[in-house]
Amino acid sequence: MSEREITFSEAIREALAEELRRDPRVFIIGEDVAEAGTPFKVLSGLVDEFGKERIIDSPISEPGFTGVGVGAAMTGMRPVVDIMFGDFLTLSMDQIVNQAAKVHYMSGGKLKAPIVFRTTMGATRRSAAQHSQSLQAWVSHVPGLKVVMPSTPYDAKGLLKTAIRDENPVVFIEDKLMYKMKGIVPAEEYLIPFGVADVKRKGDDITLVATSSMVQVALGAAEKLKEIGISAEVIDPRTTWPLDKQAMIDSAKKTSRVIVIDEGYEQYGVTAELASVIADGAFYYLDAPVKRMGAMNVPIPFSPVLEDLTVPTEETVFQMAKSLCQRS
């Protein structure tokens, strides 16, 4: 396999370009996706190759273009719907949850909606309370949806290609903060299956289960922990649904200590599910309670000095791990 370093953005763009080339049913719809390539420039250039008929600039109508995507998916197309900020999911929930997620079941298996809702998450961009949320807990709660949260360029590309080929509605959540991050991505085609966690780092003393950019935070914390003699295993579920429960439980059984980390609000967030699954499955092996680290339970503040306090960091994860392992 030939190895190259590309950014997270490029990985996403490559996945889309390859799937657009492979399957004429694939198209993209969203705000400013064509010439502008989205405000994040993730789609730059796609319109040049695929034209405005397949890279469709829509009006500012989240419920509308999401619904249009669902209808197209139900009738033979493979739309990738671009929801610029995850915060705007609030506008599209009916179409995603009541329509796309349920149509296969409600029709007794006769209809289906193979569609990808690409959206973003992540704070610390000084974008304040309506442009910084990480709402993966909501969509992960809904039967009928699959939810993907890639943490590296490699995963992003392989998982997005899988998402586009999936026969079900998939919510694909990208942390805006990672777009410029580089990583090794083979030039050859590959797919990554859903529901298979990835061990991002092996370790023995404590398990850090983390999602999306929190995987990077966990890896940073693990590096620091190593310096004080604590060996941390970092597990990335990659998809919050389907969820690879066994991988988390197995690691917990091995290390006996677990922290789960996700950038959504902590209350009723993704960390609650992960923690309770592990606490149940590894009950007899745990030496300490499973600890949760999510975003602080506050609307995301604008001021940098406040915003930075609201998300888990390498340092706070390190401290939590240290205290859990009772080292001082």
């Binding site: 033979g76 009541n98 329509q99 298996g109 006769k110």
Partner: protein
């Protein structure tokens, strides 16, 4: 579906339309009975009174054209070509139902006849219909999509979002508003400002209002709009003035607090779509009472048989409960 293509004469076509309307009427009578006898789980919103809309619209469509339907969707489903027996089975939650009993009255779908499904979210299918039209256009399939909804549903913002896109992209979609004067227990004068079709026209969408009790008028108007759409001339909006004979749903029995018995009586007596068509055909000497009665009798037999089939059909196996969540 559309028998028009198969039949040799206009008469045969209108007799078929009569039959379709009669079938819907009879179907809904039986649904009401089932409910009254507590044989039907949940509720149902009856289509009685509005038959000319579903039939007039669907007779202007091909079998592979799409429709999206509503909570009041039995008429759309039958008019587009679904079988009576499997519809009853769905309403009773039986395995033989169109959706294996998982959808019920508010979610009946029959993709084989182009029905992308009823929807229990008022206005919820407006995006789906518009997307089906986009899909048809992208695939170059020549299909059109019809979105049915009520006068209450035009209050949903989604309509304006998708009409904008349909107009911009000249999508082959026709928005059919069944204006039956009420949303649930509230008259439209309390919930609707201005004129309905002006709202479509503001987007540059061709829009018309017709007497929705006259199946011939509905079909002829619809045919024009469908032809336009197929020629790539873009979306259209058709408002059909109509009336539902029963309550909002089968349980809505005492309704004089929101509409008078006289009003109901007047619509049933003077604006009944079946009567209107029968009178016209007889006046034009294209048929006679006996022929029509025969149709009614045949329909009654078919509907009765369908209902019995459903009553006797088995429920789904419990193991079905977590199948079809994912493809």
């Amino acid at each position: 579906m559309s028998k028009k293509k198969e039949t040799s004469s206009d008469v045969e076509h209108w007799l078929y339309a009569y039959e379709q309307m009669a079938k819907i009427r009879e179907f809904e009578e039986k649904v009401n009975e089932l409910y009254m006898k507590a044989l039907m789980p949940g509720l149902a919103h009856l289509y009685s009174g509005q038959e000319a809309v579903a039939v007039g619209v669907c007779e202007a469509l091909h079998l592979d054209d799409y429709i999206t339907s509503t909570h009041r969707g039995h008429g759309h489903c039958l008019a587009k070509g679904a079988a009576v027996d499997r519809m009853f089975a769905e309403l009773l939650g039986k395995e033989a139902g169109f959706c294996k009993g998982k959808g019920g009255s508010m979610h009946i779908a029959d993709p084989d006849s182009g029905n992308l499904g009823a929807n229990a979210i008022v206005g919820g299918s407006m995006g789906i219909a518009t997307g089906a039209a986009l899909s048809a256009k992208m695939r170059g399939s020549g299909q059109v999509a019809v979105c049915f909804f009520g006068d209450g549903a035009v209050a949903q913002g989604l309509l304006y979002e998708v009409m904008n896109m349909a107009a911009l992209w000249k999508l082959p979609v026709i928005y059919v508003c069944e204006n039956n004067n009420y949303s649930e227990y509230t008259h439209r004068s309390e919930t609707l400002a201005g004129e309905i079709i002006a709202r479509a026209q503001a987007f540059g969408i061709h829009a018309e209002t017709v007497d929705g009790q006259d199946v011939q008028l509905v079909q002829e108007t619809m045919q024009k709009l469908v032809d336009r759409a197929r020629r790539g001339e873009g979306p259209a909006f058709l408002e059909c003035l109509t009336y539902r004979y029963y309550g909002h749903h089968v349980g809505d029995i005492n309704r004089t607090y929101y509409r008078s018995k006289e009003e109901e009586h007047d619509w049933r007596e003077n604006h009944d779509p079946l009567k209107l068509l029968a009178e016209k055909l007889i006046a034009q000497k294209l048929t006679d009472r006996a022929v029509l009665d025969k149709i009614l009798a045949d329909v009654a037999t078919e509907v009765e048989a369908g209902m019995q089939f459903a009553i006797n059909a088995p429920f789904p196996n419990p193991s079905e409960v977590n199948e079809d969540v994912y493809v």
